[in-house]
């Protein structure tokens, strides 16, 4: 349960921060391939939305606990 400590983030905050980290990470890791895909012939209309949706799907593979672990490591890591 979140919120037991005043410093801990709500589940929603964790989910949104993790989502943004995940997307940032994925676009960094596959930058080259993503560029190639954007120049593909069939990349039009809704393709960008579909692509972002597809990239985001991986977020659901991380449990809320794992997401919190990653997100909160940043917070504590920075304060060191």
């Amino acid at each position: 349960m979140s919120g037991t400590e005043s410093t801990s983030k709500s589940n929603q905050e964790v989910a949104s921060e993790f989502a943004s980290y995940y997307l940032q990470r994925i676009t960094k890791e596959f930058a080259e391939d993503l560029d190639k895909m954007r120049s593909a012939d069939d990349f039009r209309n809704e393709a960008m939305q579909v692509l972002v949706g597809a990239l985001q799907q991986g977020i659901s593979m991380f449990s809320p606990e794992d997401q919190r672990r990653v997100v909160e490591s940043a917070a504590t890591g920075k304060t060191q």
Binding site: R69, A75, G77, K78, Q80
Partner: protein, 1173 residues
């Protein structure tokens, strides 16, 4: 022949063209009195058209003004009211109550006259003014009676004919049709639909040619003007008004008119935005969500073509994004379709039976004998649905096939929500969507496919496969379950290509897909293994078949491993996914994973090395990398041959020390629990720390190192090499240090006259003591300095952890002495004179040592048990399906198979198991077939043909003289079956042993259990594979224990003791992992199920006491940990032994001791059985 002159030159050339009818605009005058109005509108049989139009137009302008925004309307309204009174039945001296009372009789007569004479301008003008009038009258309560009167007038026969004639005007006469429809729209909605019912009753006139009129669309390049709607728009609005005000029965009647329903949506793609939105909202509110409309009527409306046409709105007006109304259409259509397709009350969705196809009875009664003999083959429909799956939801299926879920997020969502509510469609959809290829390509389409497949695979399996309250009698068709886990486009070829694609993105997506697929497979298998099944063997067979077919369709483990190895080191997200996939392979399909001979050590060391180097700047990246590491550690846990204490080339530290280093160096806040658990369990296994209950294992070491690091960053770096050396030495020669410890204990006892016997300290400390002189002689001041700070603190923590202080004092004083004797140049490096005590509230050792129960063990072991295990729970954990169950069809099945199939797909094994059949004829036939098969294999090109032939020939020779009278003993059959897997794989660690056994002679001794001694006593020969070989042996022994005759072989006296006794002593090894322990317990469980088995176990092997002793060893361990869990299994097994033994005999044998022992525990478990039952 001369040229035809151009039209212009021809006299009267215009006469050849259709004359354009130009309606001159009618004149009008301003109305000042009601009398003026009366005069203007009065009917005269001889009046001319111009006058009639003048009157009507004057009224129109007058009404327009009344409906306009001008506030001061009271005078005009008074004029109108006066006129209506004059023009009403009273004013015309008609009798009140007469049904034929005519309102506005002059206007009606004018209309009739015009209609008779075909004066279209007037035919149009009358409905125009009537529509305006009705709209105006509906706004004022005291004028409503006039409006109702006019409406009723319209329903009279004469007027109905006029309406009918107007509506059936030529298609080009929209100026006649549209006003009439508008007038009807006003009429049907007047006063809350007061006359809707009679108006619909007169539908032959009022709804005349509605479908045709709905198709008279706006023509022209510019968009339809909202103020000048087309006939279609007006007709659709009339239809929608009718839906709003009609009674449900009338709606049903209206919706049964197929032409109207079809025409309604035929042009939807080109309709103006406001009309589309009105239509969708109207259909939703007045049909879809109207509970009173019968389901049948809804189904008529929302048929395939309606839904498909509405789905075409997903692409609507992408160009008109500036129009907010148009831009919202795809969203509204999506919400509409989602509700229509997923809400069962909308008339589209039909209840299916989950993964059981239509027309299949999952509870069909099949005779037990048939099921026992034929297994799944006894179910006629089991293999029927590979190419075609009958479904109930045709409409939805057709809609799905018209969607493009790969090109649009919303269509993807719709398709997935349909699959969620109608899981029967998944298999059918992919079978019938042949064009759906998933060949890897860096394109938007492939990415869209991948996203769609990901969502499909992520869908949950329906409860009990059928969405019922309990599991049916028969399992669902395997092909259907598999199609839901790995949809057809995800075939092996495509997935291998994607996984090993040079584009990392494609490989990443394929990896993610396989991760969710294996997780789903795990769930499906667990559902098959649910203990509530009526026929556990049958469901078990279905589960095995499912796993087999999954393995055939999914990429091989080698591809998974190769893909993982090729991922660039910095791609941590990708590496995490790939390591998770590999871990899942080990957990869910270990039979495939273990075939790969995959050595996890190099990958583990790379991951450890990367983390230890601290190259990742972002702590979140570090936490993500730890996930990969955890997965690799889990895999290492499944590989008995993991080399924890030997450093690979290029690395200075062993994997164990690297892991320790990662934990020490990890940024604060990163959770390390899983890694600490691994460290602790390896430390206990390798005897680095005491195994006693309550000891915090490696925590003192970890805390000391972390403390040093915090005080002075990087100081620990100086002693890693020293620690690694000590840890490695201690792990490789534990006995040496245990013996040294005994010497130290003696020394401590002598020195202080205190009794230090039974004192406990970590053997690692002894190793440190042994290695200290070398550090001192190496004269590295930095190392000595750090150790000088490290050792007192570490030893202090060990004392607070419960280790013997006298003993640690002795060791510490020896080390202090070394410091004092150090060369002069090191003299400034000192060590504290005293141990530094720290008080920590460590959690009990068990909670640290306990491994997570994430499927570490096989089968149903992953589940944490909260309370004592009852009989059913024990059965779930320890019962193994009969691996030698006879399948008589094996006699004929093998004949047409290739040699590869015979060996790899189990046909040979099935045939060999028949040697244990209870029917002599089957056994004899099996023998003949085995010999034939052996010959066929020997003549083939199969690589290991000689070894396989030898094995089959030997088992046949062994059986030849015995099977006439009795089945071949199960251990021999089980050995042959399991040995087949070994001889076909020269890389197996058992290959030398099995071949040596086969080479000894053509006939096996049926009095012995083959190669037990070789595995238990001899060197493993191939690396550190003892536990791997032991696992194989135990598996074959479980399969080989089925009858009282088999049990005799297990308890027969032999030179090195009965096999059962040796297995019990093997299981006493506290360092043996839980899966191997469980295998031994499975053998015991099997024995308790054999007649006289429990009695023999008790009286010959004292198994009750043995179980009790084992249970006590596990007592006090942390809740939820392996040990605690094992303790409860021991207790439950003890109860089972007692329940299944000959109590009288055992009571006499133990002189009542065992009965006393059982009392308390059994009464407790009995109670639970009742509750659970």
């Amino acid at each position: 022949m001369g040229k035809r002159p151009p039209h212009g030159q021809e006299a009267g050339g215009t006469a050849r063209k259709r004359q354009k009818v130009v309606h001159e605009a009618p004149t009008h005058e301003e109305i000042h009195t009601s009398r003026q109005l009366m005069q203007l509108l009065s009917f005269d049989l001889h009046q001319d058209v111009v006058r009639a139009r003048h009157g009507l137009q004057s009224l129109k302008v007058f009404l327009d003004a009344l409906l306009g925004p001008d506030c001061d309307q009271a005078d005009r309204l008074a004029i109108l009211k006066e006129y209506l009174q004059f023009a009403g039945p009273e004013g015309q001296f008609q009798t009140e109550g007469d049904e034929s009372q005519v309102y506005l009789s002059d206007i009606m007569q004018t209309w009739s006259h015009a209609s008779t004479n075909g004066i279209e301008t007037v035919m149009s003008a009358v409905p125009v003014v009537l529509a305006l009038l009705l709209r105006l009258l509906s706004q004022s309560l005291d004028l409503v009676p006039f409006g109702l009167g006019i409406c009723r007038t319209l329903l009279q026969k004469r007027q109905l004919e006029l309406i009918s004639r107007n509506l059936s005007a030529e298609k080009s006469k929209t100026f006649v049709i549209s006003p009439t429809l508008r007038m009807l729209t006003e009429a049907i909605s007047f006063d809350g639909g007061a006359i809707a019912k009679p108006l619909f009753r007169a539908r032959a006139s009022t709804f005349k040619l509605l479908s045709r009129n709905m198709l008279i669309v706006h023509i022209g390049e510019e968009a339809e003007d909202e103020k000048r709607p087309s006939a279609r728009t007006t007709a659709v609005l009339f239809f929608l008004s009718a839906l709003k005000f009609l009674h449900p029965v009338a709606k049903k009647e209206l919706l049964s008119q197929r032409d109207v329903v079809a025409a309604l949506t035929r042009e939807i793609k080109n309709d103006p935005a406001h009309l589309t939105l009105s239509m969708l909202n109207g259909l939703r509110d007045n049909i879809m969500l109207d509970d009173k409309v019968p389901r049948e009527a809804k189904a008529n409306m929302f048929n395939t073509s309606t839904l498909v046409r509405i789905s075409s709105l997903y692409q609507a007006r992408q160009s008109a994004s500036d129009d907010s109304m148009a831009a919202s259409i795809p969203d509204v259509a999506h919400a509409f379709l989602t509700t229509a397709c997923t809400n069962p009350s909308c008339g589209v969705l039909r209840q299916d039976s989950g993964l059981y196809p239509r027309d299949v009875d999952p509870n069909a009664a099949i005779p037990d004998a048939e099921l026992d003999e034929l297994g799944l083959e006894a179910i006629v429909w089991m293999n029927k649905f590979k190419a075609e799956v009958p479904v109930r939801n045709f409409t939805l299926l057709n809609l799905l096939q018209n969607l493009r879920p790969w090109a649009s997020i919303k269509q993807n969502e719709l398709a997935i929500s349909i699959f969620r509510v109608a899981p029967e469609l998944v298999a059918n959809y992919f079978i019938n969507t042949k064009s759906f290829t998933f060949e890897p390509k860096l394109s938007a389409t492939w990415m869209g496919y991948a996203a769609f497949l990901f969502n499909t695979v992520s869908l949950p399996i329906p409860d009990h496969f059928c969405r019922g309250a309990s599991f049916p009698q028969l399992p669902p068709p395997t092909s259907l379950v598999l199609d839901n886990i790995l949809p057809l486009p995800m075939n092996q070829k495509v997935m291998v290509r994607s996984l090993t694609n040079k584009s990392n993105l494609l490989s990443f997506f394929a990896t993610r897909l396989l991760v969710v697929a294996i997780e789903k497979l795990d769930t499906a298998v667990r559902m098959h293994q649910d203990p509530s099944h009526a026929n556990i063997a049958l469901w078990g067979e279905a589960a095995r078949r499912l796993v087999d077919e999954f393995c055939q369709r999914s990429p091989g483990i080698k591809d998974v491993i190769n893909s993982y190895r090729s991922i660039p080191e910095q791609d941590i997200l990708h590496r995490e996914a790939a390591s998770r996939l590999l871990r899942l392979c080990y957990e869910v399909i270990p039979q495939v994973a273990l075939m790969a001979k995959f050595d996890v050590s190099p990958l583990l060391e790379i991951a450890l090395g990367r983390l230890a180097k601290q190259e990742l700047e972002d702590p979140r990246d570090f936490a993500l990398s730890l996930k990969e590491l955890e997965n690799l550690l889990a895999i290492a846990g499944y590989s008995p041959g993991m080399r924890w204490f030997s450093a690979l080339e290029g690395l200075t530290l062993s994997p164990f020390t690297l892991l320790l280093k990662v934990c020490v160096d990890a940024p604060r806040g990163v959770s390390l629990d899983e890694m600490r658990q691994v460290l602790n369990s390896v430390a206990v296994e390798q005897q680095l720390v005491p195994a006693s209950t309550g000891h915090p294992r490696l925590l003192p070491l970890l805390e000391t190192l972390q403390g040093l690091n915090q005080k002075k960053a990087g100081s620990v770096a100086h002693i890693w090499s020293f620690l690694d050396n000590c840890l490695t030495r201690c792990a490789t020669t534990p006995i040496k240090y245990l013996e040294s410890m005994q010497d130290l204990i003696k020394e401590a006892t002598e020195g202080s006259n205190k009794d230090a016997v039974g004192s406990v300290i970590s053997p690692l400390v002894v190793t440190i003591l042994e290695q200290m002189p070398f550090v001192v002689s190496a004269t590295d001041p930095e190392v000595l300095g750090v150790l000088g700070r490290f050792l007192p603190k570490f030893f202090g923590l060990l004392v607070t952890a419960g280790e013997s202080k006298p003993l640690l004092d002795v060791i510490y004083s020896k080390i202090s002495q070394l410091y004092k004797d150090a060369p002069a140049k090191l003299s400034q490096k000192r060590i504290s004179d005293k141990l530094v005590f720290q008080h920590n509230s460590w959690p009990p050792a068990g909670s640290i040592a306990a491994r997570p129960s994430n499927g570490q063990a096989t089968g149903g072991e992953g589940k944490t048990l909260e309370t004592d295990i009852n009989g059913e729970g024990l059965r779930r954990i320890l019962e193994v399906a009969d691996g030698l169950a006879a399948d008589n069809s094996a006699l004929v099945k093998w004949a047409n198979k290739t040699v590869d199939e015979l060996i790899d797909e189990g046909y040979a094994i099935s045939l060999v198991t028949l040697l244990a059949s209870e029917h002599a004829s089957i056994r004899k036939e099996a023998l003949v077939n085995i010999l034939k098969m052996a010959a066929k294999i020997r003549q083939s090109e199969y690589e290991e043909k000689e070894q396989v032939w030898l094995l089959l020939s030997e088992v046949a020779e062994t059986a030849r003289d015995h099977i006439e009278a009795d089945p071949l003993p199960s251990p021999a059959v089980a050995f042959a079956c399991h040995a087949l897997g070994v001889v076909r794989d020269p890389l197996s660690s058992l290959y030398p042993k099995v071949n040596q056994f086969l080479a000894r002679g053509p006939v096996w001794s049926l009095d012995r259990l083959p190669i037990v001694d070789e595995v238990l006593l001899e060197e493993p020969e191939v690396g550190d594979s003892f536990y791997t070989q032991l696992n194989w042996l135990l598996q074959y022994l479980v399969d080989g224990l089925r009858t009282p005759r088999d049990l005799e072989l297990f308890h027969k006296r032999r030179a090195r003791g009965p096999v059962l006794e040796r297995l019990l002593s093997l299981a006493s090894n506290p360092y043996m992992r839980l899966p191997l322990h469980t295998q031994v317990l499975r053998i015991l469980y099997r024995a308790t199920g054999i007649e006289g088995g429990s009695t023999t176990l008790t009286t010959r092997f004292g198994v009750v006491n043995w179980l009790e002793a084992q249970e006590k060893l596990c007592a006090g361990s942390a809740k939820g940990g392996d040990d605690e869990r094992l303790g409860r299994i021991y207790r439950a097994l003890r109860t089972r032994v007692w329940r299944t033994c000959d109590r009288e005999r055992v009571g006499v044998w133990s002189k009542g001791g065992i009965a006393d022992l059982r009392g308390e525990a059994e009464s407790k478990l009995d109670g639970e059985d009742v509750v659970m039952g």
